[in-house]
C-alpha cells in the first residue's frame, strides 16, 4: 500500500500536502500548527488547549459557533485537539464542499482576532474547566494524564507541566494572551495543511493559493529550550497517589528514544510485545496466568523532541494490594531484561501493527493527519510510506538491545494509584465473598 503525496510551499511559508483517493466522494482537510503545551509560558499552563477552544468561536467572517454549523450543514465532521508538541484542526466533508473547509481554516488563520471577546473567553474558560473536571478530577485515575509527565520530565522541561492546565492558570488567561499566542504561533509558516481524498490536484492548489496566499508570514516563534535528556532516568522514580478508586493501578514509564528515530521503532515493537492485545506478555502472564491483573496494556507517547516515553498500564484484580501489583509487573519486566524476547514475539507485534496501520489508512481523515504529523515534525510527509518498512526491519536483536538499555531499574518511573480510604478495601472483601457463593 502506497499513499500518494504531492507537496508545495506557499510564499508565506505554509507547507501543503495533497493525497488523492477517489474511492468515495469524501475529502479531509487537516491543519497542524507546530505549537502545543510545551510552548506555554510560565503561569499559563493549559493555554494552548484553551486557545484551541477559542478557534471555534468564530473569526472576522464567521460568527460564534458558525464554524461548527457550516461544516455540519455541509455534511461534514470536525474537531480539533491539543497535544504537547502540536495542535490540530480537521474536517472531513463531502468532496464538493472542499472550498468551504479551506475557507473556514483560512479565515481563522488570517482573521481570528476581530471575533475574540471577553465574554467568549470567559465561557470557554468555564467549558475547559468543566472538561478538566470531566476528564480528570471526577474520573478515577484521571489525574495520571498530568502526573505521569510531571514525574518523568524534570521541572524546567517543556513536557513537565500539565496540558489541561491548572484552574489558577486558566483563570489568569486574558484576551491579551489570546492575541499574543495567535500572533506568535498561528501563522502560515508554523503550519502544515494536508488535504486527502477526492479532489482535483490543480483545483485544490488554486483554492489553497486563493484563500491562504494573502495571509502574512509570522515573525518567528521563541525557540524551545534544549529538550534532550540522558537516555535513562538514572533512578527508579516513584509516586503513590491515593485516589477515590476501588482497585490499585500502576503506570510504569520508561524513558525511550524520540519518535521517528530508528530506535523508536524497536521501542514501539517492544510496547506491542508487552501490552497490545490478548497475546501480549503482560496480558498473558498477569491477566491470564497469574490472575493478579484485571487489565494490562502498553503505549508510547510518540514525542518527537528529545525523548519519548514507553508506558505500561496495569490494573489490579480485586484483592491484590498495590505493592504486590507493582512487584508482579516489575518481575515480568525483570524476566524480559534477563531472558530477552524471541523473533516470534516481534513477528506477532509487527503483524498486528501492519493490520492496524492499513485499517486506519482507510479513512481520509486519518491519512491526512498522519501525513501532517510527519510534515510538521520532520518536514518529510513521505515518512508515512516508510513507517511499515521501519517496523518490518525491526529484529529481535534490536528489541533486546532496547530492553537491555532502557527497561532496567535505573530507567523506571512508577505512578501507583491506591484506594484513598478503607471503605474500598472493605467492599473488596464483600464482593469477593459474593463471588465465592
Amino acid at each position: 500500500m502506497r499513499i500518494p503525496i504531492e507537496t508545495f510551499r506557499l510564499p508565506n511559508g505554509l507547507f501543503v500536502t495533497l493525497s488523492q483517493d477517489h474511492t468515495a466522494p469524501i475529502v479531509a482537510v487537516n491543519l497542524w500548527y507546530h505549537v502545543g503545551s510545551a510552548n506555554e509560558p510560565p503561569g499559563r499552563t493549559g493555554f494552548a488547549h484553551l486557545f484551541e477552544h477559542m478557534l471555534f468561536q468564530g473569526s472576522a467572517d464567521v460568527d460564534a459557533n458558525e464554524h461548527f454549523e457550516l461544516v455540519q450543514r455541509a455534511g461534514g465532521t470536525l474537531n480539533g485537539s491539543t497535544w504537547l508538541e502540536r495542535t490540530n484542526y480537521f474536517e472531513t466533508v463531502p468532496s464538493n464542499q472542499l472550498e468551504l473547509a479551506l475557507w473556514l481554516e483560512a479565515n481563522r488563520m488570517g482573521k481570528l482576532l476581530p471575533a475574540m471577546t471577553q465574554q467568549k473567553l470567559d465561557t470557554q474558560r468555564d467549558v475547559v474547566m468543566n472538561e478538566r473536571r470531566w476528564s480528570m478530577d471526577n474520573q478515577p485515575y484521571g489525574t495520571w494524564m498530568e502526573k505521569l509527565p510531571a514525574l518523568c520530565f524534570p521541572p524546567e522541561h517543556p513536557f513537565h507541566h500539565s496540558l489541561m492546565g491548572s484552574m489558577e492558570d486558566l483563570t489568569a488567561a486574558s484576551l491579551n494572551d489570546v492575541a499574543q499566542f495567535f500572533a506568535t504561533y498561528y501563522t502560515p509558516d508554523n503550519a502544515v495543511l494536508s488535504v486527502a481524498g477526492d479532489f482535483d490536484q490543480s483545483e485544490a492548489r488554486r483554492l489553497i493559493e486563493l484563500h491562504f496566499g494573502s495571509i502574512p508570514r509570522g515573525k518567528g516563534k521563541p525557540a524551545l529550550p534544549d529538550m534532550s535528556l540522558p537516555p535513562v532516568f538514572g533512578q527508579w522514580k516513584r509516586e503513590v497517589v491515593p485516589d477515590d478508586i476501588m482497585l490499585p493501578r500502576l503506570f510504569l514509564a520508561f524513558r525511550s528514544p524520540a519518535f521517528g528515530t530508528k530506535e523508536y521503532y524497536a521501542a514501539s515493537v517492544c510496547g506491542a510485545i508487552l501490552g497490545v492485545r490478548n497475546g501480549s506478555r503482560l496480558r498473558r502472564r498477569l491477566v491470564r496466568e497469574r490472575q493478579v491483573a484485571a487489565d494490562a496494556s502498553a503505549f508510547t507517547y510518540d514525542l518527537a523532541k528529545g525523548s519519548d516515553l514507553l508506558v505500561v498500564d496495569v490494573t489490579a484484580r480485586p484483592g491484590v494490594p498495590a505493592e504486590q501489583l507493582e512487584q508482579e509487573v516489575a518481575d515480568e519486566i525483570d524476566v524480559m531484561v534477563r531472558d530477552g524476547i524471541e523473533p516470534a514475539d516481534v513477528e506477532r507485534a509487527v503483524a498486528l501493527i501492519q493490520t492496524s496501520f492499513v485499517s486506519a489508512m482507510q479513512q481520509a481523515g486519518e491519512r491526512a493527519d498522519r501525513i501532517s504529523l510527519f510534515a510538521t515534525y520532520f518536514g518529510r510527509p513521505e515518512m508515512v510510506n516508510e513507517e511499515l518498512g521501519h517496523y518490518e526491519a525491526v529484529t529481535s536483536d534490536r528489541v533486546n538491545e532496547f530492553i537491555r538499555e532502557r527497561l532496567g531499574e535505573n530507567n523506571r518511573a512508577s505512578l501507583l494509584y491506591i484506594p484513598r480510604d478503607d471503605a474500598a478495601v472493605e467492599l473488596v472483601g464483600v464482593d469477593a465473598a459474593a463471588g465465592a457463593r
Binding site: L70, G75, A294, T355
Partner: protein
C-alpha cells in the same frame, strides 16, 4: 446569537455533488442454514468478517444476567485444539484482530485481517465458532474480571450514572433493568453447564449470519465460509422478545451519593421506542435538533450559552424493543438544578413550538451529507450491515436512507416530539455530592427526590 451581517464575506458555494451509493452487497443462504452477506469493497487489502448469532443479552434468563456476554467472550478463550493463550497467539501471528461481544439483541465475533492472511484467519475463526472449550479455569477468570469491572463502576461516575439510569427506568421484571453484563450475584451463579447449553442452543448455523466486507468477491467469501464452518450444525433458536415496561409513569429524581464530587453526572429520560418503528426518521431528526448534534439546542444552551458543561447530548438507544431515550451531561455540582431546568425547558420547547426551517435543514443536510463518511472502513460497513440484519430492516434501507431523511418536515418533528418525548414520565438520575445537589433538586419541584448509595440501594 448575532446574525451574520452584510459586511461578512460570502461563504464559498458547494460544487455539484458526486454520486455515492452504499456498497452493493449480496446475500446467499448456505446448506447448513448460514446466511452470508458479502460487500466487496476493493480499496485496501483488508477484509472484515463478522459472525452474528441470535445470542444477545435479552436471552439471559432471570437470575442468569451476564450469561450471554460471558459466553461471547469465552469463545476467544480457547478451543478444543488450543488453549486461550495459544489461540490469541495464533490469531495475532497472522495480524488478525478479533473481538467477541454480546449486546442486547445479538452477539458478534468480528475479525479484521490483511487479505494475504485471510484464508488462515478465517479457518481459525471457524474453529472458534465450532469448537469452543469453555475450560473451567477461563470461565472462573472471566467471571472474576466481570466482578472487577463492577467494582470499578462504583467509583466511576459516568458509567455508574448510565448503569443506574437503566435500573431506575425499567420495571424489575424487564431484562433491560439489569446490567447487560450481569451483577455480582447473577455472575457468581453462572456455571459451565449453563454456558455450554446456552452455546449449544444459540450458536448454531441456522441462526447465524456471516458478514464479509472488503477486498474479496462473494464467491471467495462463500468458499472460505463453507470451509471454515463445515460440520457446524443446528437450526435457528426461538427468538426471545424482551419486556420493555417502564418502572414508573410519574417523574422521580434519583440521587446517587458520591460525596465531594466536583461534578454531577446527570441523566434525564424515559423508555423510548423500538428501532423498527414507522416514525424512526422523524424521531431521529427531531433528536438531532434537540440534542444529537454539536449545534443542537441542548448543547448550545448548556455549553455555549451557559458554560455549564463540556458537552450535553441526547439520544435514543435503538434496540428491537424500546431502549432508553436519554439526555446526558456532566455539570459543575453547584449548578446541577439550573442545568436540569434548561434541559427540561428545551424538551418543553420542542414539544410546543415548531422548529425553525433552518434548524430542520441543518439536521437533515448533516445526516444526508455525512452518510458516505460513515462507511469509509470495512469494519463500519460490516457494522451497518449487521444493523440491517439484526433489526430486520429492508434490503434497500441504506439506498433510501438519505431520501427519507430529507423528506422529514417541520410538522413531523413537532408530532414526533409530542408523541415520543414524555415530560411527565421523565426520570432524573444524578451521581454527585448529595449535600450540594439534593436540596436544590428538591426545590426544583421536578419530582420526589430519593438518595441512594453507589450500589443503588436507598440510603437510610
Amino acid at each position: 446569537m448575532t446574525s451574520a451581517t452584510s459586511s461578512k464575506a460570502a461563504r464559498p458555494a458547494p460544487g455539484p455533488p458526486r454520486e455515492y451509493h452504499f456498497p452493493r452487497f449480496e446475500r446467499r443462504r448456505l446448506d447448513n442454514g448460514i446466511e452470508l452477506v458479502v460487500a466487496p469493497v476493493a480499496k485496501v487489502p483488508l477484509v472484515t468478517v463478522a459472525v452474528l448469532s441470535d445470542a444477545g443479552a435479552v436471552c439471559d434468563r432471570p437470575g442468569q444476567e451476564g450469561l450471554a456476554q460471558l459466553v461471547a467472550k469465552l469463545l476467544l478463550e480457547g478451543t478444543i485444539n488450543s488453549d486461550g493463550a495459544e489461540l490469541a497467539e495464533r490469531f495475532e501471528r497472522l495480524g488478525a484482530s478479533i473481538d467477541a461481544a454480546a449486546d442486547w439483541d445479538s452477539s458478534s465475533v468480528t475479525m479484521t485481517a490483511l487479505s494475504e492472511h485471510l484464508s488462515a484467519s478465517f479457518d481459525l475463526l471457524g474453529e472458534v465458532m465450532r469448537t469452543p472449550a469453555f475450560r473451567v479455569r477461563e470461565v472462573e477468570r472471566l467471571k472474576g474480571e466481570r466482578l472487577a469491572e463492577l467494582l470499578q463502576l462504583r467509583a466511576e461516575p459516568r458509567g455508574l450514572a448510565d448503569e443506574l439510569f437503566s435500573r431506575f427506568l425499567y420495571a424489575p421484571s424487564s431484562r433491560f433493568a439489569h446490567s447487560e453484563g450481569g451483577d455480582e450475584r447473577s455472575v457468581a451463579a453462572i456455571d459451565r453447564e449453563q454456558i455450554l447449553s446456552f452455546y449449544q442452543a444459540r450458536y448454531v448455523p441456522g441462526g447465524a449470519t456471516v458478514i464479509v466486507t472488503g477486498d474479496i468477491t462473494a464467491d471467495r467469501a462463500e468458499e472460505l465460509t463453507r470451509r471454515a464452518l463445515t460440520g457446524w450444525s443446528g437450526s435457528a433458536p426461538s427468538r426471545i422478545v424482551a419486556d420493555d415496561v417502564p418502572a414508573r409513569f410519574e417523574r422521580a429524581v434519583h440521587v446517587i451519593a458520591k460525596s465531594d464530587a466536583p461534578q454531577s453526572e446527570l441523566r434525564i429520560g424515559h423508555v423510548g421506542i423500538p428501532r423498527n418503528h414507522p416514525d424512526f426518521f422523524a424521531v431521529n431528526v427531531m433528536n438531532a435538533v434537540l440534542g444529537g448534534l454539536f449545534n443542537s439546542r441542548i448543547n448550545l444552551n448548556l455549553r455555549e450559552v451557559h458554560g455549564y458543561t463540556y458537552g450535553a447530548f441526547s439520544g435514543y438507544e435503538w434496540r428491537r424493543q424500546a431502549g432508553p431515550f436519554v439526555v446526558s451531561t456532566a455539570v459543575k455540582s453547584d449548578i446541577t438544578d439550573a442545568a436540569a431546568r434548561e434541559v427540561l425547558a428545551e424538551i418543553d420547547r420542542i414539544r410546543t413550538e415548531p422548529i425553525a426551517a433552518e434548524e430542520l435543514s441543518l439536521a437533515t443536510s448533516y445526516l444526508d451529507g455525512v452518510f458516505p463518511i460513515r462507511f469509509e472502513t470495512t469494519a463500519s460497513i460490516a457494522a451497518a450491515l449487521a444493523v440491517l440484519v439484526i433489526q430486520g430492516l429492508p434490503e434497500d434501507y441504506y439506498d433510501r436512507y438519505r431520501q427519507r431523511v430529507r423528506a422529514v418536515t417541520v410538522d413531523e418533528i413537532l408530532n414526533a416530539a409530542q408523541n415520543y418525548l414524555h415530560p411527565n414520565a421523565m426520570q432524573m438520575i444524578v451521581v454527585g455530592d448529595p449535600s450540594a445537589v439534593a436540596p436544590s433538586l428538591d426545590k426544583l419541584g421536578f419530582g420526589p427526590v430519593t438518595l441512594y448509595d453507589t450500589l443503588g440501594h436507598p440510603s437510610a
